[in-house]
Symmetry: C2
């Protein structure tokens, strides 16, 4: 095994993946940019600037596993794939929520795993789980590490140790079926590599969440991810037709057919199970032909309500583009959807409408969507805002790091509801955040957009910026709790696409009921009788 504590971040000696992230920041620091000058001015005006660089990387707690257990793990995955060096352990300490970053910046590494284990096959995953049961080790499946809901911060009390099960070596495209238009992918594939492998066959998945560049196929499945092109390509859970899962009780394969009546759809029990029921070792997904044309354009609406009504009309008339998102007045004013334009004046509400497909498909769908939007009073803004959005579509988390650097706390949260409840939910969540963060004093900005639509409803995605203050984690914790309370009081979902993790777990019971919580516990007890898989995550 690798004990090289002097290894730099991303060095080959830790087996680091090229898309491995910085332990205290989002993504690849080389890809990050400084806070744009225009934004810096805005921030200074709103909150003042308090340069707060992260603490130097601190040493980790000692590895809590004995050499016998480490040797047994090495027997399963090979000695090169058990890592106890600081760099490997540091990156797998929690995920990338703002509280996670604040803790990492403060040098709090209390949740660090004892070891990072990288299996190279389904059987090696099964072998690690068997050892975990034997030695009562908590196991945290790890994909891209992009989780923002505490899903990588498993409980370790009562366990002999905590192992981060890094699936990075499971990175193959196992099978392509161009007749059925399906592909079987291993869970460690990151978004770009999955798309690149499919592109060799002229195919694509079309799944582009904001975490796309770093998140993994297994993570998309385990958390019911939804991407920016969900209007055209669907949610990830709608793409999945088959699953292979390693559980402490053995292998589980699902996926006899696109859809069926052979009892409950158990695939939908694995999707969203967040590593608590088993480790997904292969995912069979529906794929599409690579689009020949991609065009993104902007539309302006007089208000969020008008723009949302237009989205509803598109969804309910079956006239959906590939990408459809709408910023509220506040988000539009700050140009958050157009990072190139931050600092410029923008009024009304910006909608981004994207079309992908063959030239004929794009032409006919674009014409149909344009007719609806024009008829409803939208103002076309041409392709410039669309191009600006597309250029910055994965960049917001870098901006968050830049804001944290100057003492501004930026975080997001999201929910979904039915169309008739959108206005109330928007007002209630926004009101809860503003009240808790004391917007009266000018110390918080709350922005919102709709980025996923259905015939019956849509998501709401809030971005909050506030002065970090003396105790930013606690400050945000109170605001987030107030928002969650408002969400469940309105009967909406605690998460549209970020998942439950540990952060949302206290509110899950209010959404799925005592019996829903009981059923999750029963399934967990059945598949993972000793509870070694992601303890404390998801299951109430």
């Amino acid at each position: 095994m690798t004990h090289d504590t002097a290894a730099p971040h991303g060095s080959p000696s830790t087996g680091a993946h090229p898309r491995e992230m910085h332990p205290q920041r989002w993504g690849d620091p080389a890809a990050a940019t400084a806070l744009p000058e225009a934004a810096r001015g805005l921030v200074e005006l709103a909150f003042g600037l308090h340069e707060t660089p992260a603490a130097a990387e601190v040493e980790l707690p000692p590895v809590g596993l004995g050499d016998d257990v480490l040797a047994a793990l090495a027997d399963v995955v090979g000695p090169d794939h058990v890592h106890v060096d600081d760099a490997s352990r540091r990156l797998r300490t929690r995920g990338k929520s703002t509280p996670d970053l604040l803790r990492a910046r403060a040098g709090d590494l209390a949740d660090a795993p004892d070891a990072v284990v990288r299996p190279g096959s389904h059987d090696e995953v099964a072998g690690v789980l068997a050892l975990a049961v034997e030695h009562h080790l908590a196991v945290v499946p790890f994909g891209g590490g992009t989780c923002v809901t505490g899903g990588l911060a498993a409980r370790r009390d009562g366990f002999a140790g905590l192992v981060s099960l890094d699936l990075v070596r499971l990175d193959a495209l196992l099978e392509v079926d161009e007749v059925s238009m399906t592909a079987t992918l291993e869970p460690g594939l990151r978004g770009p590599e999955a798309e690149a492998l499919l592109a060799e066959h002229g195919l694509c998945l079309g799944h582009y969440p904001q975490s796309f560049e770093h998140a993994s196929i297994g993570g998309f499945a385990a958390t019911r991810s939804s991407g920016q092109s969900s209007a055209g390509y669907g949610r990830f859970d709608q793409m999945v037709v088959g699953l292979r899962v390693a559980t402490p009780r053995g292998e589980w394969r699902l996926g006899s057919s696109p859809a069926n009546a052979a009892g409950p759809d158990l695939r939908q029990l694995v999707l969203g199970s967040e590593g608590a029921f088993g480790v997904i070792t292969a995912v069979t997904v529906r794929v599409r032909r690579l689009p020949e044309v991609k065009v993104y354009e902007g539309w302006r609406w007089g208000s969020f309500v008008e723009g949302a009504a237009a989205m509803r009309t598109l969804a309910q008339s079956g006239t959906l583009p590939t990408v459809l998102r709408l910023s509220d007045e506040a988000e539009t004013g700050l140009n958050l959807a157009r990072p190139d334009a931050i600092g410029e004046e923008s009024t009304g509400c910006l909608m981004i409408v994207g079309h992908e497909g063959t030239p004929a498909q794009v032409e006919s769908r674009r014409a149909a969507v344009t007719e609806v939007l024009t008829g409803l009073g939208g103002t076309p803004l041409g392709e410039e805002p669309g191009a600006s959005w597309a250029h910055g579509r994965f960049h917001a988390p870098y901006l968050r790091d830049s804001m944290l650097d100057v003492g501004v706390l930026v975080e997001t949260l999201e929910t979904a509801t039915f169309w008739s409840k959108v206005d109330a939910l928007y007002a209630d969540v926004r009101g809860a955040l503003e009240r808790e963060l004391g917007v009266e004093g000018g110390s918080a900005i709350v922005l919102c957009h709709i980025s996923h639509v259905y015939e019956t409803g849509c998501s709401l995605y809030f971005t909050v910026a506030t002065s970090a203050g003396e105790a930013p984690i606690e400050r945000w914790g109170r605001a987030k709790a107030a928002a969650n309370d408002a969400i469940v009081a309105d009967g909406a979902t605690i998460s549209h696409h970020h998942a439950v993790g540990t952060d949302h777990r206290p509110w899950l019971g209010a959404e799925i009921g005592d019996l829903g919580a009981s059923v999750l516990r029963a399934v967990k007890a059945d598949l993972d009788p000793t509870g070694v898989l992601n303890p404390g995550v998801l299951v109430p």
Copy 2:
């Protein structure tokens, strides 16, 4: 309670629903027609005619419940809603598979419930379940009684009695949300009544399985039904956004949002649960505007393979009509999809293509579909075959009764798979049926159609006609087992839309694995600890 054993079938004194079926036949005998002369000739040629009228209705086994239990049930639902008369019990003895009908015709009423109980509210359902737990009564939820997989033939061994929980009185449209385009329906509503109530609001569900005229909303949900317009309106499980369920452990409500990442989608665990986990007491569904135009047309293909390839092209290019079905050469030759034309000569393979919507939607979709089908070599046949199909779309089960009357066993079975496996599955299931029924001797006809398509695959629906012979139930049992063995050997699903019931239960484990079966048992044990709900159904 009502003991009036002399009450005729359907009389008000048994509280019979107008859509209640004949205990030995499909549907309403008044709506049935005699075997068409042309068909009669074909049948005689193939199998000979052996007029075999059903046995006179026989007496039932005595009611096995004591007066104390009956009185307790009457306390919950009211004395008018506990029925122990023969007519009520007879109709709730099993469902409408051909073996069910053969047993009913032979006077075998061994599976008759002891009592039929008709709750009028969710709370009364909960009250009946509480009594069932207290007295250890098996409870069989009953909607329209159209089940064809033995889902109404629960095990009664070890129980103090068996109660048919008839949901007919739960027949309200509870709520319409025209902004979200959702409606909340009670489970006892039959298809036509549900559509009629929605039509008062200009809305529709668009769910038209062959059982439409008699089946219930609760049954559609509990069995993951799929209708003839699934290409346009989706499967029933895709329509459901919310559920209210009565379980022995209390009430369970699900449905915070159209879709979410709040853990596994537990709605998909209730959908397809076939009354074994709880009793669905309300279903919130996505609805659509009533179509202004409906047009159905015929297309002819040179072969089943060519027609199936055309369906695949439509599904994978996102160019789906509302109705899309394709008969194989044998089914086309017998004009099974065009009951008006039985006896006429038909060659090749008939495809029915239907479009519903606004005039503009129908025009544009019809043009797009026509372009694809023409480009692939299909021959348009105009609207006559479409009208003939639409006229007879719910009539096939009546034809089955007419065939049974003359000694011909007719039964159907269905499955689904991915497109690349369709040819093999078709050949294997057909081969298994022909081998087992001895087609070499000319004693069986096997027909097939595709009636549900997805981007990644489709359903296969087989219709078999064979001479009933001396022991028709055993004869069909062997053929069905051979077909099921072929289905699971090919990795396909044991049912695309008929559900598991008792008939498919022995094959379910092969499809969902030992762990899938274990999970179903765990959920069952959690929600129904004493196992009173539909014992022996679904759960392996």
